[in-house]
C-alpha cells in the first residue's frame, strides 16, 4: 500500500499497464513533454518514448478515430481529452464508429478515453461538464466514474483490459483533494459492481463520482437526526449494478438518486425509473432525484454553487425523504 491522491492513482494505474503491456499507448494534446494539462502523464514520455506517449495535434476526432484504428490493429490506446468537455468534438467517432463496430462488423474496439470532468472551481461552461449521461445512452459504450483513489486505479486497469470503448470520467475536483491508501501492485476493479460507500437502513443514496463525497457529508449530518443513510457508489454507469440498487431500495424503501450531470434526461432518470418499475412494491416514498440544474455550468462562484448539488441540498432531500 502507498498513499496516493486520486490523480496519482490514475497515473499509477496507467504506468502499471504501460509497463506490463507494450500495446498500451497514450495519445492526447500536451500529454508528452508537458505531462498533460493535469500532469497525469508527467514523466511518461521519458519512460516510454515519444511513440507511446504521443503529443497529438489539436484534433479530438483524429485522436479518437486514430485510437479506434490502432485498437483494431491490436493496440490498447488510451486517449486523453484535455478536458472532458472537448469529447463533444469526437462524439461522432465514438457514437458512429467505435460504439457500433463490434455489433456490425464483429471487430472489437478496446479503447479508453480519459475524461477530466466535473466542476467546482469556476472552470465555466466548457471546463466543468459531466457529460456521462449522453454517452450512457449510446449502446456499445461503457462508462466509468471512479470516486476514490483505489477505484481510480483499479477501474482504469479494468478499462484498459476491457475489449470495448470505455469512457473513463475522472473528476478534476477529486484529483488532489482525495488521498488514500492504494495497493501498489496491479489489480482490477470489476465493472458493474457498486461499492457500498456507507451502510445504512433508512434511506439509500445512489450516486457516483464526486457526488459520493457530497452524499457522505450529507449522511454525516443526518446522523444527528438519527437517520441512517446508505450510500451506493455505482462506480460504472454502463454497466450499472441494478441488483445492488434494487436490493438497497428494498432494504430502505426510500431512494435518492444524486448526480452532477444536469437533471433533465440525465442518467438519474434511468436509475429512478428502473427502481420505480422493478421495486415498486417496496417503495415507501417517491424516488427523489437531485442533480445539477438544466443550464450550462456557470462561471461565477455563487452561480456555480447553485448549479452543482451541495451538501445542504442533499441534506434537505434526505430529510424530506426520511420524514415522508
Amino acid at each position: 500500500m502507498a498513499e496516493m491522491t486520486y490523480l496519482q492513482a490514475i497515473s499509477d494505474g496507467l504506468r502499471v499497464e504501460m509497463r506490463r503491456d507494450k500495446r498500451v499507448f497514450v495519445i492526447g494534446e500536451d500529454v508528452g513533454v508537458y505531462g498533460g494539462a493535469f500532469k497525469v502523464t508527467l514523466g511518461f514520455q521519458e519512460e516510454f518514448g515519444p511513440w507511446r506517449v504521443i503529443d497529438s495535434p489539436l484534433s479530438e476526432t483524429a485522436i479518437v478515430g486514430g485510437c479506434t484504428g490502432a485498437a483494431i490493429m491490436g493496440m490498447r490506446p488510451v486517449a486523453e481529452m484535455q478536458f472532458a468537455d472537448f469529447i463533444s468534438c469526437a462524439w461522432d467517432q465514438l457514437v458512429t464508429v467505435a460504439a457500433k463496430q463490434r455489433y456490425r462488423a464483429g471487430t472489437p474496439v478496446p479503447i479508453v478515453v480519459r475524461l477530466p470532468s466535473g466542476g467546482g472551481f469556476s472552470g465555466g461552461p466548457f471546463h466543468s461538464q459531466n457529460p456521462e449521461s449522453s454517452f450512457a445512452h449510446i449502446a456499445g459504450l461503457k462508462v466509468v466514474c471512479p470516486a476514490t483513489p483505489e477505484d481510480a486505479k483499479g477501474l482504469l486497469i479494468s478499462a484498459i483490459e476491457d475489449p470495448n470503448p470505455v469512457l473513463y470520467f475522472e473528476h478534476k475536483h477529486l484529483y488532489r483533494r482525495l488521498k488514500a491508501d492504494v495497493p501498489e501492485e496491479r489489480y482490477t476493479v470489476p465493472f458493474g459492481k457498486a461499492r457500498v460507500h456507507r451502510e445504512g437502513d433508512d434511506v439509500t443514496v445512489v450516486t457516483w463520482g464526486a457526488m459520493v463525497h457530497t452524499a457522505g457529508d450529507a449522511a454525516k449530518e443526518l446522523e444527528a437526526d438519527g437517520v441512517s443513510v446508505e450510500i451506493l457508489d455505482l462506480r460504472t454507469l454502463i454497466p450499472w449494478d441494478k441488483k445492488a440498487v434494487l436490493e438497497s431500495a428494498e432494504k430502505t424503501s426510500k431512494v435518492l438518486v444524486l448526480h452532477e450531470d444536469t437533471r433533465t434526461g440525465g442518467f438519474g432518470g434511468e436509475i429512478a425509473s428502473t427502481i420505480a418499475e422493478e421495486a415498486f412494491e417496496h417503495l415507501d416514498a417517491p424516488i427523489v432525484r437531485i442533480a445539477a440544474a438544466d443550464s450550462p455550468v456557470p462561471f461565477s462562484p455563487p452561480l456555480e454553487k447553485a448549479f452543482i448539488p451541495q451538501v445542504d441540498d442533499v441534506v434537505k432531500g434526505l430529510k424530506e425523504l426520511a420524514a415522508y
Binding site: I54, S59, M75, T96, V97, R102, A105, G106, G140
Partner: protein, 348 residues
Amino acid sequence: MAIAREAEPVSSLHEIREAGLDREDLLGMYRTMLITRGIEERGHILYKQGKIPGSFYTGRGNEASSVGVATAMGGDDVGTPLHRDMGVHVTRGVEPWRIFAQYMGRADGPTRGRDGNVHMADSKLGLLAMVSHLPAMLPVAVGCALAFRIREERRVSVGWFGEGASARGDCHEAMNLAGVRRLPIVFICDNNQWAYSTPTHLEYACETLADRAQAYGFEGVVVDGTDVLAVYREAKRAIEKAREGGGPTMIESLTLRMEGHAVHDDAFYVPKEMFEEWAKRDPIERFRSWLRENAALTDDEEDEVAASVKKLLADAINRAEESPLPDPSSLTEGVFATPEDLDTPHHK
C-alpha cells in the same frame, strides 16, 4: 496553379511488368473487375425482385480504381474501402456469396444481417467495415497506420474518401495527423465528380483535390481512374513509399459515377453528354482493349473468364439465398465485445 502531379497512362506490358505485374496477374485483375461489376449488376436485379431490403448502391465506373488500388496493396496491408469500392473486397478475397448474403440481410453475410449494402468487411482480409458517415473511416485508417508506426511494422494503411466527403472535418484531421507524423498511409480519393446530386464546384474550390496534399506536407497525384494499370502503378508507388518511411500520399482517382447515387436516383441532374463521354472510357472495356492490344488476350480467354464469372455469381446467389435470416432472439448479441473477441490475429 496546379500543385499535384498528373500521372501518365501505362503504355506497355513491359512497363507494367516493371511495376510488378505479369500477364497472369493482369488477367486476374480483369476477372476481378468483371466479378465486381457482376456482383453489383446482379445485386440490382435482386433488389428489383424485392430480395434486397433497404436501399442499394453500386460503384459502376469505379471498378478499375478499386481493383487497381487493392491489387497494389500487400497481404498485411489494411484498408477502409467505401460504397463505390466493391472491387477492393473482391480483390482481397471476400467470397461473392457472402456479399450477396450481406445484401439480403442473411446470417452468413460479413455483418450477419446487422448492417446492409457494402457496409461490411472481412477483418481477416485486412479490411475495416465502412460506416455511412463519410469520411469517418479516414481517422480510423490513420489509426491503423499509427499502430504500424508504433510497432515499426512494414505495413501500410489505405484510406478511401469521396470528393464530396473531402469537405468534412474528419478528412482534414486525418490527413493532418498523418502528415505531421509521416504515417504509412495512402489516401485514395474516389473523385466521381458527384456527391449525390452535388457537383464538384459546390464541394470544393481548389483545382484538384490532390493539390490539397500540400496542405498536409505530402505528395498529391491525380490519376485517370478508368485506367486500372495507371491506378495500380500510382498506388503501388505510394504504398511502397509509405512502407519505406516516406510518409503519406494522396491519390485522386478521376472517374464518373455511371449511375444514380443509389437505385432510386435516376441522376437527372448529370448532363447526358457527360455520361456519353465517360461511357466511352468504361474501365472494363478499356482494360479489355488494352489486354488485347498489349497482352494478346484471346477470344477463348475472354469467353472462358466470362463464363466462369457467370457461373461463380450464379452459384453465389444460390448459396446466399440458402443462408438463413438472422434469428431475432440474437438481436442484442455482440453489442459488447467479450475478451475472447480479442483472440484474433490482429489483436495479439
